[in-house]
Every structure is written in C-alpha cells, then in structure tokens.
C-alpha cells in the first residue's frame, strides 16, 4: 500500500513537472506537426503570393492604411531600406525564406520575428521622422552579424509625394 502511494505521488510530481513546461511538451509538438502551413511556402516566395519581389516594400492600401512587406533571408533583408510615414500606424508583414530571423528596430521598443512558413504581422506607429537601423537579432548563420536593414521614417506629406501608386523603398533601383 505504501509503495502504491509513493508511486502515485511520484506520478503526480512528474505530471506537474511536465505541465509546468506545457509549452515545450504540448504546444510545440502540436505546432510542429499540425500548426505550420498557414503562411507561404518559404522556397516559393518568389513565384506566387504576396511576397513576390515586385510586391515588397511599403504599400498604401484602401482608407489610408500602410503595409510593409519584407522577406528576411540569409543574410539580407529585402527590401534592405524601407520608408514609412511618421505618425500613422504601419502594418508590417514579414516572413522568412530559410531560417528564423528577428528584426529589432534600434532606438524603439519594436521587434519582429520572421519565421519560415509563417507570416508575422504587427502594427507599429513611429511618432517622429528619423532613421533607424534594423539588425537581425536572432542568430541565423555565418553572416548573421552583417545582416542589417534600414528604416527611414519620413513626414506623411513627403511620403505621399515619393512614388505614388507603387511599392515604396528607399533602395537605389
């Protein structure tokens, strides 16, 4: 009888230990096998979908909404220089073509993780015009430390006059 109680107690403790790491024991395996596949296929980003190269950059949608689409890949961000208007919410939609990358907007509180097969979406508002560096903040390989993008926040009126109707970047074309 004592043995049985001891065994049951041990099982309860093991169960509690597993539950305390539920994210790793349950959520991650479920996500790994069943959760992926909501986003675009990382190897065919350039063929179809919203991340074809002519659709990358800042776009002005209906009702004055702004969307920036970006690809993070080993070891460059595309587009490498993005330009957004100041003072309005800007939605970032980011995916990765290979490994996990992370954008951290230096000088702000904002950051974004780029995961292959997933689209990371977040809406940020940059209050004042300025220039920010966006280094990769998740080790992604040998060229990780040189992986960097630039963000150019310009006044709203200046942004509207830049390249109407197109995808806006501040890269030389």
């Amino acid at each position: 009888m004592k043995k049985k109680i001891g065994f049951a107690a041990a099982m309860v403790l093991v169960g509690l230990a597993l539950l305390s790491t539920r994210y790793y024991m349950v959520d991650l395996p479920v996500w790994h096998f069943f959760g992926g596949g909501n986003g675009p296929d990382p190897v065919t980003l350039h063929l179809r979908g919203e991340f074809v190269e002519s659709n990358l950059g800042a776009a002005e949608g209906p009702a004055g909404s702004f969307t920036v689409r970006m690809i993070a890949q080993q070891f460059v961000f595309v587009p490498q220089c993005i330009v957004v208007p100041a003072g309005v919410p800007v939605t970032f939609r980011i995916t990765s073509a290979d490994a996990v990358h992370q954008l951290s907007f230096l000088g702000t509180d904002y950051g974004l993780k780029a995961v292959p097969g997933e689209v990371t979406e977040a809406t940020f508002t940059f209050a004042k015009p300025g220039q920010f560096k966006i280094p990769c903040h998740e080790f992604c390989g040998a060229g990780h430390y040189a992986m960097r993008a630039h963000l150019d926040v310009v006044p709203r009126d200046q942004f509207a006059s830049m390249l109407p109707g197109e995808r806006r970047t501040c890269e030389p074309r």
Partner: protein, 259 residues
C-alpha cells in the same frame, strides 16, 4: 487461475485503446484546419515580377541529384570550346565550370532557357539541353578537379592588376560590411557556409565575376531569388567590385585548392 487472468487482459487494454482513439481524433481535428488562408495583396494590379522559375523544392533537388556524370561528360563536348576541356576557360570573360555547385549550375541553365537570365550566346545553347541534360552536366562539372594542370590552356589565376585592392577584398570576403548590410561573401559562397544556388567563387575568372557584379548592380541580371545578390551588389562601389573580382580571379579567395 491463469485462465481468469487471460480473460481480463482485453479489459486492461481498453484505456490504451481509448487514448489512441483520442489522439487520432485530435490529429484529424487539427489536420483539417484550413491551410490555404493567405492574405492576398491589396493592389494586385501591379505587374508581378518573377526573377526565376526555379524554386528549391524537393522535386527540383531530386531532379538535380539524379544527374548522371558520365552522360554529362558526353554532353559537355558542346561546352568545351568556350568553357575548356577540363572546365577551365581560356578566355577570362567566360566562367570556369570545374567544381561548380550542382544547384547553381542547374539553375543558371534553366534561367537561360526560360530567358530569366539573358545572354546572346548561352540562351541559344541552353535551349538545346533539357532539365535532365542540365542535371547530367551539373553532375559532371561538379566532379571535375579544380587543381591546376600545366598542360591545360587555362586563363584562371591572373595576377591582380592593382594589389592594393587586396585588403578591401579580404575585408568584404571575411567580414562583409555590417553598416551597409553587406554580408561576407564566404558566408554564402563558401567555404564557411553555403546557400542554395550560390556558386563557389574560389576558382572563378575575375573578368567574369566583375561583369556579373556589374550586371547585378545595374539590374541587367535579375534572376537571383528574392533579390539577394542584387541587394548586395548595388551597394558595392566600383573600387570594391574590381578588388573583389581581381582577388578571386587571382586564386587568392578562401576555399581554393588549385595550388
């Protein structure tokens, strides 16, 4: 006694059966989720530019890995005149193919065929090779040695015209330039790490490399997937392009085993 315990055994298995059924139900529930939910772009009237029809899917990799090097050897008679009997060209403006990466070779052949990469010479020639032929050629050229052969009429190691460019080249190859977001060459082209579709540069002709860097930076060549090489090349100055291509063309790049 033993008779009785045998009779109860199926009942003991029942909880396990229940667990298995439960897991199966979860599996079916989760796998039935809509996986095609993809937000379309708002302004879909923009012309879609596709850099290359090649994507590194499992089928593509399977086609390439099925390449037969012996068949490639026979097909390579059509390439020998420009690219050399042993994969080393005698003209410095033509690329060396010995030791080339299979994937990058195959991709370039497909891009020539589909017109995604333009070349007055190669587009016509590549039309004569099927996808399987290109895989065979890739297998053949990938196994050619890059060691030097004195009998071979090759243009490859050409001394740097301006040796003062060497430090610039070494810095870019080994460290890149983080301020401008230029990754080190060797992190994709080897030998530190490789990226699919990036050819090794250690035994490539300098003139050819300089041409291609120029084409990438001004957009004449735009068949790199996801604007990878274009993003890098358009940030290089003319001085850096010359230094890099001369440095690699002199056989001084990392990963070289020709000397």
């Amino acid at each position: 006694m033993s008779h009785a315990s045998q009779a109860t055994r199926p009942r003991i298995a029942a909880p396990w059966l229940g667990t298995a059924l439960f897991l199966l139900a979860i599996t079916l529930l989760l796998s039935g989720r809509d996986s095609s939910a993809q937000k379309e772009s708002e302004n879909s009237d923009l012309p879609v530019r596709i850099p290359s029809n090649v994507a590194w899917t499992g089928e593509t990799l399977a086609i390439i890995s099925r390449g037969d090097a012996f068949r490639g050897l026979l097909l390579a008679r059509r390439c020998n005149h420009c690219h050399g009997e042993e994969g080393f060209s005698s003209v410095p403006a033509f690329p060396n193919l010995a030791g080339v990466d299979r994937l990058s070779f195959w991709k370039q052949m497909q891009d020539f065929r589909s017109g995604k990469r333009t070349s007055p010479v190669m587009q016509g020639i590549a039309e004569g090779f099927s996808a399987r032929d290109a895989a065979d050629l890739a297998a053949y050229y990938a196994m050619l040695p890059t060691a030097s052969d004195p009998q071979d009429n090759r243009a490859f190691p050409q001394a740097m015209q301006d040796p003062s460019g060497a430090p610039i080249a070494i810095r870019l190859i080994v460290f890149g330039d983080g301020q401008r977001g230029i990754p080190p060459c060797q992190s994709c082209h080897g030998p530190v790490s490789y990226v699919k579709g990036a050819p090794p540069l250690a035994t490539q002709n300098g003139n050819y490399l300089e041409q291609q860097l120029e084409h990438f930076s001004n957009g004449n060549r735009a068949n790199d997937i996801n604007v990878r090489m274009r993003s890098i090349a358009r940030q290089l100055t003319a001085e850096e392009k010359t230094a890099l291509s001369e440095f690699y063309g002199a056989g001084m790049g990392p990963g070289v085993n020709s000397r």
